[in-house]
């Protein structure tokens, strides 16, 4: 099943008279269970592409379908709600809510989804277990290392049972040890639970772990390889 399907999407930024075509005629599909890296030099349009697929940004032209829903047809408010139920986000700088504990950070999205207290508790515990930090449940982000924060962020992204997880350079702020731990967790979730991951990266060690690598150059897909065959 196609989780993501883009057709000829284009994103043009206009600053005064300067026009930048950040993403240029990109068509791609991501299927359930993929573990895909988007790579390319700085400024090649990775973030812009992921933002459009994640429903955070709107393409100048073209179509983006996520879980069979055409995103360009949704209003801003509908998009927020769509993201809540369908897309998990992991950000480069973790972006946990500082006043909430690890547990509450993971729980929060489910609360927005109006999931019952009992179910929330059970799922948060499962997820913290899955990312390997159950003992940090009642700790606030400030007291966690970057790697631990990013693991909470992955748990948070998984909490609403999204169709897939988008991660824009999730390891860019992590040391190599934390990077390895995080990738192990992501890979395990992908292989054991069939969770779909779409992430961008500069890091060769991360690229090496991807099952599929899409390369962007100046906003265009210049290569699309399946690695582990």
């Amino acid at each position: 099943m196609n989780v993501v399907e883009t057709k000829n999407i284009e994103k043009v930024f206009r600053d005064a008279d300067l026009e930048v075509c950040a993403v240029n005629d990109v068509s791609l599909t991501i299927q359930e269970g993929e573990f895909t890296a988007v790579v390319g030099p700085s400024g090649s349009g990775k973030t812009t592409l992921l933002n459009m697929i994640g429903g955070l940004d709107v393409p100048t032209s073209g179509s983006v379908k996520v879980a069979s829903q055409e995103l360009t047809e949704l209003s801003k408010n509908e998009l927020i709600n769509f993201r809540l139920f369908n897309i998990g986000f992991v950000f480069q700088s973790y972006n946990l809510i500082p006043v909430l504990t690890a547990f509450e950070n993971v729980e929060f999205v489910m609360l927005l989804q109006k999931i019952s207290q009992k179910e929330r508790k059970q799922r948060v515990e499962e997820l913290l277990e899955a990312v390997g930090i159950p003992e940090k449940a009642n700790v606030r982000p400030a007291q966690l290392s970057g790697g631990q924060q990013q693991r909470v962020a992955v748990a948070r992204a998984l909490a609403p049972k999204p169709a897939f997880i988008i991660a824009d350079e999730p390891t860019a702020n992590l040391d190599s040890k934390s990077t390895k731990i995080l990738l192990d967790i992501m890979q395990k979730l992908n292989e054991k639970e069939g969770i779909t991951f779409l992430f961008s990266t500069h890091d060769q060690r991360v690229i090496d772990r991807a099952k599929r690598v899409i390369t962007l150059t100046d906003g265009k897909i210049t290569s699309d390889q399946n690695m582990k065959e």
Partner: protein, 403 residues
């Protein structure tokens, strides 16, 4: 959870939240205290001037006020009027007076006065002039009617106790004059009144001038709040007399009260504006500081309504903490000054001259609490609107990438 986030956000910047809490508390306190002060003033005036002297309403000959309190315009058939009044169950007290404008003359000086002939035994219920006597007394005297005059007037005329003075009234429509003897001095908080009003026994003057005149019935009702409707009813029962409410008799007092109402309004408006600006500023800062966080919340699916709720809850919590503190301060201060009183004569000597009692005892009406709390809540909610709009305008991607 949203409440929890709101609660926790508040304590991120403790000093900032404390400022808002204290501003709210201060606003509530100032509002209530000045409300209490104003109400205390009002109650005092009603007591001093209206309840004890003017009455809630007065009955006169229809032309009496127009003819400047001329002796020759007494109430027609006062016995009938008294009858009607006594039969009326809404009425608490009735006082019957001779009142007329006159000149008081000594061999050297003269001064315009208002002669008030009271029935001292009956008047006591309503009017306690006897408590104001500073020298002498007010005994009956068969030869020359006994007069009680203000100390201010006595000083001005150079009159001593026991002196005889000439009183001339009814200047325009048939002169009436007699000689009275000054037997006592009084002093009230109102210097203007002290200079103007001289008291006499009603029976003395009726005997002296040979007319059983009554110029004024001063009435108080059991329920002050129904004043307007009661006086209208009374007017229907007594079509040949003119009923005046106290505000018509002493417009300067009523205007004074209205004036303080206006001053209060302006004052409160300034207080609320200051509070509103404080809240707008604080909440805006708190929103801007959290730009990135709000962006993340929107990205992961927190809707506009929930964001709005979250920010409003923060203001609400701050207000909810501030209001009881303000009420506590009010109870403390009004409790203290309500007992001790605030002496205005120190602050403004002129106040005493215009018939305002100089001691004010602040009293909080129950409805004040309600009013001020509603106002504070309104102010804080209105001032949160702008920061909320600001937060809702954030675009997730831009907000997240900030800094």
């Amino acid at each position: 959870m949203i409440i929890k986030i709101g609660w926790k956000n508040i304590w991120r910047k403790k000093s900032r939240s404390l400022i808002v809490i204290l501003s709210v508390a201060f606003g509530v306190w100032i509002g209530l205290f000045f409300g209490a002060f104003q109400w205390g003033t009002y109650v005092q005036k009603l007591n001093d001037i209206v309840n004890r002297e003017i009455g809630h309403v007065q009955i006169h000959h229809p032309l009496f006020l127009e003819e400047e309190y001329d002796y020759n315009f007494p109430i027609k058939d006062p016995e009938h009027v008294k009858h009607v009044l006594q039969a009326d169950s809404t009425i608490k007290s009735i006082v019957e007076r001779v009142v007329f404008s006159a000149m008081i003359q000594t061999t050297k000086e003269q001064s315009p006065v208002l002669v008030v002939g009271v029935d001292t035994t009956k008047e006591r219920k309503m009017h306690s002039i006897s408590t104001l006597i500073t020298q002498g007394e007010m005994p009956h005297d068969k030869r020359a009617p006994t007069l009680l005059i203000g100390e201010v007037l006595a000083n001005e005329l150079g009159v001593k106790l026991g002196d005889k003075v000439l009183i001339q009234g009814g200047m325009l429509h048939g002169m009436k004059s007699f000689v009275g003897r000054v037997r006592g001095f009084y002093e009230s908080p109102n210097k203007l009144k002290d200079k103007l009003i001289i008291y006499i026994h009603k029976s003395d003057i009726n005997k002296k001038l040979g007319d059983a005149f009554t110029h004024e019935f001063a009435i108080t009702f059991h329920e002050y709040d129904s004043l307007k409707s009661y006086s209208a009813l009374l007017q229907k029962k007594l079509p040949h007399q003119q009923i005046y409410t106290w505000g018509q008799i002493v417009p300067e007092v009523e205007n004074g009260i209205k004036m303080t109402d206006k001053v209060m309004f302006v004052f409160m408006f300034i207080i609320w504006t200051a509070l509103a600006l404080g809240i707008v500023n604080t909440m805006l800062m708190s929103v801007l500081e959290r730009t990135k966080e709000l962006g993340v919340l929107m990205a992961i699916g927190m809707g506009k309504w929930k964001i709005t709720q979250m920010i409003f809850i923060e203001t609400f919590i701050l207000t909810a903490i501030g209001v009881p503190i303000g009420i506590f301060l009010t109870m403390l201060t009004v409790g203290y000054w309500g007992d001790v009183g605030i002496d205005l004569s120190v602050a403004n000597a002129a106040v005493a001259d215009f018939g305002y009692s100089t001691m004010i005892y602040p009293v909080v009406k129950q409805s004040f609490y309600f009013q001020v709390i509603i106002q504070v809540i309104l102010v804080s909610f209105i001032s949160t609107i702008f920061p909320v709009i600001r937060a809702l305008k954030l675009e997730p991607i831009k907000a997240i990438n900030k800094l």
